[in-house]
Amino acid sequence: MSDGILVDLRVIWEALVRFFGLEALVLVIGLVVILAWVQVNALFLVWLERKVAGHIQLRIGPKEVGPFGVLQTIVDGIKLLGKELITPQPVSWLLFILSPIMVFTPVLVAFVVLPFGPHLIIRDINVGLMLIFAFGGINVLSILMGGWASNNKYALLGAIRSVAQNVAYEIPLLLSAMSVVVMSGTLSMQGIVEAQEGVWFIFYQPVAGLLYLIGATAETNRAPFDIPEAESELVAGFHTEYSGMRFGLFFLAEYTNMFIVAAVATTLFFGGWRGPFLPGPWWFLIKVYILIFGVMWVRWTFPRLRFDQLMNFAWKYMIPIALLNLLVTALVMKLVR
């Protein structure tokens, strides 16, 4: 009986492959898997964040729903889904509705080129790194849209801050990633992992690695760089007027973004899926979650920077250092090759 089903499935699969082509099929299945993965990952990360925060703050965090409270975020998600989507009267409604969708969609694209393992990658595009950064830039646009369309002063202030911050921090982020590209000679994510045979790039590029991690924290609006949504100053920043699942999408995008920047950091500096004993995907996830844990630790330990101090830090220190680092890397690579 089960044999029959398998044979049937194989026949269907072969027919589909003949009709659509293997590439397209892998892409579609990959996207479905990504969507599922993004949800599960966000649920896990939110739970982890609350547990980490709890233990840092002399509490124990969620513990009632499910074992160790793991189901707490699912319950919260259901609550968000059940809430009314309030659209205040004076908003620019098209932009207002579009913003949470636009903040979430580009996030998914990055997953296409993330190398989870030696073969576990949806498509290894030769400009993979570029693709991630390019789609990451859309994030800013949607935040500005949401903040502007809300017709709320706090939201507007949050959006303005967000744009200035993201523009400033994307530059050192790109420059530090460029240093790695100069070393590996490829923009393909899988190629960068392959180039780290033996020694991780963090040992060649400690400065770039540090700059990337700082820039990534700022890019994802995490404390101490959570200035666009600084709740003690701007109530909730750009998403002040959002409720229900629209707010949920912003929230989901934030945690997924966190995963992506950590995954890119793992690929660029920490050898991607490379590691002894365990299979590749395990190593990849372990490294990513360790990085995310570090980011959470920082969030619950430090106060928030002030806006102008943040900008000074980016333009006066990070960008010159990143530029210098890139120049030195290029020079050394030229001499070595």
Binding site: S232, W300, R304, D308
Partner: protein, 370 residues
């Protein structure tokens, strides 16, 4: 009228009365140019409950529970102050033991008030964790005070001529264990918060108040001492047992947010010293004066009493016609004067600084509005 003064580059922002960092229902009307503040107008009165008027409509004892509802963080201090004021008017002698007990409780209350401020201030600056640490410490104090006063926040422990009941063993043991614990915690706070580079950047040189400016705006308490003026009513106009105790008045020089923070942290240590000393030489005897009349009727005249509350100079003024109910009751609460300086020091700063400065002034809204 607002529209007329509005240029194209500026706009008004209503910070509060519903805002996470206004600690209640304070309303700041800010005129902003981008993020820079051009004008600030503090608007108060959202939680006005007519406490002074209530004082004029009930007997002296009936008004006692009201006192701790004004400043809910320093309720015991307000209790203490009110009892001292009435006792001074009536010439009631308080037994030695009761005076010691009152001081110990008031100082513990002061520490708990400063602890809450410490946590809330760091939360204003974006660090959430110290808040829960401070509440953990504060919880100990509330439990200790609950042992003897029977309540955790709005105390009515002091009575004219003494206190409600004597200290019990749980209180003494709890305090003995608490003092070293808080000292250790304060050390942790010094290494984790006071030396944190981001914290220093956010508070040093922000919201600077000179000693002259502070005098002009009648700033008192830790805010004044941060400007370098060593004015503390416990020393300037001593009351209760403070003249017999050894403690210092911590002062700073710059008068910025960091100094206000530092002064409060140092004050907690001094308060611990006071508690330790007072408990060490706690005399035996009654805790309530004998022969206090059932109806308090101060002789006709007007009376004033000054008290150092956790937030500064608390002045109690009442007029008696010799009856059971005062003719006039007036409270000069410190936060009201401290708050008014915002309109002077805020213009020119950023929105983020507004929160830092407002937090460092340490206002309690029900005490402003009364």
């Amino acid at each position: 009228m607002l529209r007329k003064t509005l240029t194209e580059d500026s706009f008004y922002l209503n910070l509060g009365p519903q805002h996470p960092s206004t600690h209640g229902v304070l309303h700041l009307l800010l005129k902003l140019d981008g993020e820079r503040i051009l004008e600030c107008k503090p608007l108060v009165g959202y939680s006005h409950r007519a406490h002074e008027h209530m004082g004029q409509n009930r007997t002296y004892l009936q008004f006692l529970p009201n006192t701790s509802r004004m400043d809910y963080l320093g309720g015991l201090c307000y209790n203490h102050a009110y009892c001292l004021a009435v006792e001074k008017a009536c010439g009631i002698e308080v037994p030695e033991r009761a005076r010691y007990i009152r001081t110990v409780c008031a100082e513990l209350n002061r520490i708990s008030s400063h602890l809450l401020w410490f946590g809330a201030y760091l939360m204003d600056l974006g660090a959430f964790t110290p808040f829960l640490y401070a509440f953990d410490d504060r919880e100990d104090i509330l439990a200790i005070l609950g042992e003897v006063t029977g309540s955790r926040l709005t105390y009515s422990y002091c009575r004219f001529g003494g206190v409600n009941r004597d200290l019990n063993q749980n209180f003494l043991d709890g305090t003995k264990a608490f003092i070293p614990k808080l000292r250790k915690r304060l050390k942790d706070y010094r290494t984790l918060v006071t030396k944190n580079i981001i914290f220093l950047n956010r508070t040093k040189g922000i919201g600077t108040v000179s000693a002259e400016l502070a005098r002009d705006w009648a700033l008192t308490g830790p805010n004044l001492r941060a400007c370098g003026v060593a004015y503390d009513l416990r020393r300037a106009e001593p009351y209760s047992i403070y003249p017999e105790l050894e403690f210092e008045i911590p002062t700073a020089t710059a008068g910025d947010c960091y100094d206000r923070y530092w002064v409060r942290m140092a004050e907690m240590e001094q308060s611990l010293r006071i508690v330790e000393q007072a408990l060490g030489r706690l005399p035996e005897g009654p805790v309530k004066a004998a022969g206090v009349p059932q109806w308090i009727q101060p002789p006709a005249g007007d009376y004033h009493f000054s008290y150092e509350s956790p937030r500064g100079h608390l002045g109690i003024y009442f007029v008696s016609d010799g009856g059971r109910v005062p003719l006039r009751m007036k409270w000069r609460t410190p936060s009201f004067s401290n708050l008014s300086i915002l309109s002077e020091i805020l213009p020119g700063t950023l929105v983020a600084d507004t929160i830092a400065i407002l937090g460092s002034i340490d206002v309690v809204i029900p005490e402003i509005d009364r």
